[in-house]
Symmetry: D2
Subunit: 307 residues, 4 copies
């Protein structure tokens, strides 16, 4: 594959960089200060693609990514990766844990290391940075007011910090899901174990509107793997929805469900069909295979012609 | 229109003949001894079409018609008619009501005149004939063991009987729905106020199977105007279903609902799309017009191509 | 058990009598000329109970029984029986099949012996009687215009007829479901394999009204074993529904489903909870056992009290 | 009302303090460094209640509040408030906008002022603080590395900062919803315009599990005003749900829906029934009023007794 340039949520040393290195080892890397900046680099054709986090098994959806995909100029997800997340307490060489008074890290990392902080650094003041790598960078600066950062081990290596403690997350099985995003174009081929992401906006806020949306999937036997409500910004009680569904839009049942959703929604934005990182194939319900759809369509054509 | 030959549930003088005369005044009429015989005449190309009763507002579905349409060689409904039903007590000239001991009529007519019979002829013995006209014919025969028939006034005229009492039904607003049936061929054009009839067989008898069927209609915003369960003959608890739905199969929402039903059912038999006798146009729900279906299909094609 | 008097659809020799003899061998039997008459005998306290047919695996619901239960003074089903139905061609001693020109039988029997009649008696004229036993009785009368009856073998014995042919039904597995009906009173105890019958009238004829009704059952995990739409008599397109559901009304999930149905319907008539003839126990879905209902109720009381 | 002590998300000068002052003007105020700390103060009985943000019309649910309510020791929502949010750019006296290089604020505020920052401070470095008031406090400290904070005007007043720019949010209609939380106890009385909050955990991750949950509400005619999926922490694809429903748990339809949800879920946590800040009364669907529930219950008792 040709050399490509991938933007990502930087700076160097973030978990996102780690994800990018696994997904596209040979790509040229372009760190960006925020999710928005990484996605804008793709939109402005300064990068071929971007890698950003979409959700975390502990913290949930990454709001900035969700909202950028929903509202910004359209982009398309072409791949995903699940990355176990391990946090380390990083400090300048020579620092002892007993002297750590001010810690900097990303807010999500703070939440995920809540127990460690309460137990080991009960009196430390914790401040939030834009990313865990930015926190490590900040600590590495001469004259930094911070004594330690929480972040990935590779961030420590990158910025010359030591690991005062490792694997300090409350849970050892935390996973972050990263996505690779490009400008709209040809879709990845279906593999039999695919996922389709989309965003739907309610046509009106009637009782049961979400139930109607879910019925469009259920009627075609499609399982949803993620549902996320997000505010539209038009006042409390106004939401739109992120959906991840099993299957590829080229499959009949997925296509018909999306068409149905499109008809009853104010708007639907398709975010992509791409191979699932976990490789799980859906259990396809009776009457929803492509063959059965084709037969039904053929049957319909026959009866419409009266033959 | 050219001269056509129409079979119907005879003999002459039935309500069905009355319906046929209204639907096709110029047709050649071919009375048949049963619904099956009338429909078989069409199947064997001895008649161009048949007129038979489908349901009665008091008695419900006419089982013989429902089962013939479901199981026999396929036919297609092309028109319907709603006919008010008025019953008369018919007897040979000179008969007085006080002398009537034995009455013959069709079972449905007996039920619909229950109150009259209990009040005016409490001791009469009532026997069932294949049709009300057959009953009138029977009474008209010399040496008939029956004193009176219950049937249409025109049956009385036809067989030389007098009306001992008229309009003897328990309700004055009883209506029978008749259908005109042909061999499969080009469908009647959509008029905007159409009905679609079909029969569906459950794929398996799981809890909620009927709910799944109804959801195929509801998801596309289609109202059902009649549902009739009928035994498959394979034992108590095994049913298939007759549905009448609003709309014409050439409309997108009806077509997709039928396709969906076809996919999840063991079998679906299309019985026709034809103008409603009551001329009522359906209230079409948001997102289910042909235009909206076309837009959704176009949108789907665009996203599948990634453009 | 004390001696009881049971009305049934007579005359002697009907399949209904056969069912009654099996259900209540020691009861005094009271034949009645029609389903209505048998049920009225119970209503007027002339009989303790009545046995009538409810549905047939080939012909479907018995309209007169369905409508009597729905509209007449309320009665309660306390037991059911499934009886295989075998038809014989019955004639006066000495009759040969080649001489049979006029056959009398009940309309349902005619339908169920359609193939035999077409094959063996293609030219015979078939007339309908009120019951198969009445047909046998008619044939047995001196001077009867009929040559043969179709009915139960015991009807032949009873009326001195011979079996010209036996087991002449199109299918050998036809079954009729009979019910035993009393005046309302204490319900039969739940057995773990029960059925609950009821009738529900739509509150209004909105699209999806039946779907709403079925959802009341589905939400509580209740499987329906029979659904029958019947016309209300108020014009084509106006229906009410007979439902048979798994379970006993004393069970929480059945009770709540019936309450829910009652709230959204114009009216619901409870027709009884009684042991299933087939002894099948329902597969109870997670979250719908009596224990789970009791826990949920207790939980609700706690949170309402804020404790 | 007696003097009460209310914990809140501090420090002094936060929007939360503003909300608290409106909800409980006479209460003693106890600022806490985090949502967790404020809620823990109530749990440990150091405060009578806490005021914390629950969701923002632009940013969505406040994860820390949602997760604390779901997982921590149970608490109960007793009131809510909707507060318009206006942001100011706050700096030490004498600061000019052209000299601002480093801005500190809460991450949500950064997102909500994205356009202002891009337009007016395109080159500024923005770092995240735990709250907007903490950011203002930080800027007010001698030797602070930050030039400006984004926060509430009252935070500026409180910490001796000037407003360099005011009303700098991207939208002028942004609203935050605050809740007042106590230890579990007697519920607020129903007012006719109430909201009920709860958290439900899926029993198993079958296709349609969320649809089943929503059906429990729909079957009882209950409108949901908010749905929020949150990860359980047990891996990508494992969610639980926050629901806000119309009505008070003391109402029959709400109670039955919650009982139903409890039966089919692994667990349900009730978070409270309390007056809606917007005072909107729900449109109650036919068959779901308390009177109709009482009638249905009474009817059920009658039929169970067979009377």
């Amino acid at each position: 594959m040709e050399m490509r340039k991938l933007a990502y949520l930087g700076p160097e040393g973030t978990f996102t960089e780690e994800a990018l290195r696994i997904m596209s080892p040979d790509a040229e890397r372009m760190p960006c200060p925020s999710v928005s900046a990484a996605l804008d680099a793709v939109r402005r054709e300064e990068a071929d693609a971007a890698v950003v986090p979409l959700e975390n098994s502990l913290e949930g959806g990454i709001s900035s990514t969700l909202d950028e995909l929903a509202w910004g100029q359209p982009l398309m997800i072409v791949a995903e990766l699940l990355l176990p997340v391990r946090f380390s307490l990083l400090a300048r060489p020579g620092t002892e844990i007993g002297h750590i008074k001010r810690v900097i890290t990303h807010q999500a990392a703070q939440t995920q290391c809540r127990n460690f902080l309460a137990r080991e650094l009960p009196n430390a003041f914790v401040i939030a940075a834009a990313s865990t790598a930015a926190a490590a960078q900040e600590v590495s600066l001469p004259g930094s007011p911070y004594d330690a950062a929480i972040g990935a081990a590779i961030a420590g290596e990158h910025y010359g910090l030591i690991e005062v403690a490792s694997d300090i997350g409350d849970r050892s099985d935390t996973v972050t899901r990263f996505i690779q995003v490009t400008r709209p174009g040809p879709l990845p081929e279906p593999t039999g174990a695919d996922r389709t992401s989309l965003v739907a906006y309610l046509a009106d806020d009637h009782a049961g509107a979400l139930l109607d949306m879910l019925s469009q999937f259920a009627t075609r036997g499609i399982n949803l793997t993620r549902i996320e409500s997000r505010p539209t910004g038009d006042g409390i009680g106004q939401y739109f929805f992120h959906f991840d569904a099993e299957g590829h839009v080229s499959e009949a049942r997925v296509g018909e469900a999306l068409s149905g959703l499109h008809r009853i929604s104010a708007d639907v934005r398709f975010l992509g069909s791409y191979p699932r990182a976990d490789g799980l194939s859906p259990r396809i319900r009776r009457g929803t295979t492509d063959v059965e759809f084709a037969e039904a369509t053929e049957w319909l054509e026959r009866i419409r012609k009266g033959t």
